[in-house]
């Protein structure tokens, strides 16, 4: 029998994923045109086994993009802070200086409806709900980065109380060399 399991974005200020002790640190300007460059800098000495082709780069780039575009609104006066640890697993904390993801609860409800339609094989509804459109979404937003992220970050994806900082971790079956 099929079971519907729907993941959620979680807010937990005290979660251990926000413990930055021993992590490396980088800080970037809110320059939308350099998002992939910033991602490459953070992953410069990442073990190959963690990269999974360019999947890690793609997923980290989404978090950096969300911070710069939706968090800091590409305001050049605002910075993006990244803590990272690539020992044994890939772990990141990314913090912007914006107002936080105020639509987080709406997103969880959107995702519940979307995944329910998929589970019910109601593909017309699913296609209509395929992308999230929030108050600040524009035509260039894919509206699906958090959907893949919930699956990719298999050790957790947690927001802080202000919802302007996210902690993520991905574990790998083979570990690092």
């Amino acid at each position: 029998m099929k079971r519907l399991i729907i993941r959620k974005l979680i807010v937990d200020e005290r979660n251990e994923l926000f413990d930055a002790q021993g992590m490396r640190y980088a800080e970037f300007p809110s320059d939308f045109s350099r998002i992939r460059e910033f991602t490459a800098l953070v992953l410069a000495d990442c073990p190959a086994v963690f990269r999974e082709g360019n999947l890690l780069e793609q997923q980290l780039s989404e978090i950096i993009k969300n911070g710069i575009k939706h968090g800091n609104r590409s305001d050049p006066a605002k910075r993006l802070r990244v803590w990272y640890d690539l020992r044994k697993r890939a772990r990141f904390i990314v913090e912007d200086e914006g107002l936080g993801f105020v639509g987080l609860d709406d997103w969880n409800e959107f995702f519940r409806k979307r995944q329910t339609a998929l589970f019910d094989e109601d593909f017309d509804t699913f296609l209509a709900l395929a992308s999230y459109r929030g108050p600040s979404s524009d035509d260039e937003d894919g509206g699906n980065s958090l959907i893949a992220a919930l699956e990719y970050w298999n050790g957790g994806m947690i927001f802080n109380g202000a919802k302007n900082k996210v902690g993520v971790v991905r574990w790998f079956a083979r570990g690092s060399d």
């Binding site: 082709g53 793609q58 780039s61 998929l118 395929a130 894919g142 509206g143 699906n144 980065s145 893949a148």
Partner: protein, 105 residues
């Protein structure tokens, strides 16, 4: 990312070959071009993604918008050559199930 629309094949499909990274910088222009093409009456399109090694959420969003517009306008879509990371990203986004795939041309 570059794309090229080839003349209709025997099945009436126009083949759209993509090459490069389908990302936050290139995907919006690609979506805009394809949505216009569908709005102008394209009836059958086949997208060859064998030249795409990198696909991010903006690229996935472009594909979703193309799927939505094609459904609205009665345009038939096929996809081929989806491999590597793009396939994983489309699967994690649950979009792969909506894409009718042909064998690689």
């Amino acid at each position: 990312m570059e794309w090229m629309i080839h003349a209709r094949d025997a099945g009436g499909f126009e083949n759209v070959a993509l090459k490069g990274d389908c990302d936050l910088y290139s995907a919006p222009a690609f979506a805009k071009a394809m949505l216009s093409h569908i709005a102008e009456g394209a009836g059958r399109l086949r997208f060859d993604l064998s030249g795409v090694d990198y696909l991010d959420s903006t690229g996935v969003g472009a594909i979703i918008r193309i799927l939505q517009e094609a459904k609205k306008r009665g345009c038939e879509l096929r996809f081929s050559g989806i491999g590597g990371t793009p396939r994983k990203v489309l699967k994690m986004s649950n979009i792969l199930a909506l894409m009718r795939e042909d064998p690689r041309p």
